[in-house]
Amino acid sequence: MSPSTRRQFLVHGTRAAGLVAAGALGCDSRRPQAGFLGLMERVNERVQRALFDPRRLAPELPEEDESDADDFPAYKIAREYPVAPAGWTLSVKGLVARPLQLSLGDLQRLPMTQTRVRHHCVEGWSAVAAWQGVRLSEVARLAGVDARARYVEFRSFEPGYFSSWDVESALHPQTILAYGMGGELLATEYGAPLRLYSAVKLGYKMVKYLSEVTFLPVRTGGYWEDQGYEWFAGV
């Protein structure tokens, strides 16, 4: 190599290494919501929100597409499955004209919706089950949700287990408060007595063992989101 090509080689090499270092500096795998990775999560949230069409429905699948019961994973965040407290009710509150306390019987008397769509887990697997329940938009209508409510927080009776959603995804017609799975009352392993189910979010956004729905002007975090998983998580 002649001296001039060697110099050029060094200049180009140093410049490339510098760019890589600058990019990597803003990236911390343990804190993915900070720095460059966090900035890009917010960019991606904007894109996902722009892509989200509140009227677009996920295909409802035929019964033969349902996964075997053994193939749909049960769900708990603690060592043991939580058990609903005696006298469990769902409270609907926040920016609503009429806060509600709904028993399982109250929910079952509301118009029933079934949804059987592909379930997408953050881990990469998919499975199909039929879920029976009440559209969250129906409950929101009964409670008289205020126009200032831009976010919805879902909280479990399992301590520390919650998630918050954009109101558009929460009021999607395939977002339901599910008390049934496969035509039977929800089993403990799947979030009894009531869980969130939706066609438009990854599974970790669907809070199981549900006890509170709060309409809010601001977003909060979530059990998984606060650990570093994406907040929007649309599919």
Binding site: S29, P32, R56, A58, D68, R118, V122, G124, S126, V235
Partner: protein, 226 residues
Amino acid sequence: MSRAPERDGRVAQPTIIRITHWANVVLFTIMAGSGLRILLAYPWLGARGEDYGWYPLQGVRPPMALTLGGWLAGARHWHFAFAWLFVANAVVYLVYLFASGEWRRRLFWPPRDARNAWDTVLHDLRLRRTAPASVGLYNGMQRLTYTGVLATAPLLVLSGLAVLAPVQLPRLTALLGGYDFARAVHLLVLVALALFTVVHVLQVLLHPRTMVDMTIGGRAPKEAAP
């Protein structure tokens, strides 16, 4: 054994091609490493209870040494952050490739390259004694391979989008055979491109001059008059 090809004064690898090439090395490594870390969370293909029988590596976890991002959420953030840079870099390359006319001496053009590529295959299989000469910058087999990579790479992006937003992009997802099949396509295209990269790196080690050209430009060999 062979005399040095005459060089015609034209830059073998123009600046934009060199920059986008090396940027792609970094970005593709980040995408592949974070992608493998995401795969590690569920290393099966096919919906639950319907594992694809044709996939030989069901349940095989990619080695941690090949992964990036540390854990699932970390890897997802790397993957979806750098996907933009990966695609942007590819767009710069493609726009330059076509706007500059570089595509003429790089893409596979059967009248020029088909026979040459076939002769290269015969030579590599020891069925032909002499290697066919390069036609200009590359030989026919190189052009066929690089064009194949360029033709395959969009499938990587499209299948990724289908896996990311199967409900919001229903037509794309259906075109790719549904969420689970798109996820398989996403991995298989990565495997194909990784195999290409292995061969590519071996060839570069055999012909180190190409690495120098890709870094500082170099001079292109003279294209024989047809």
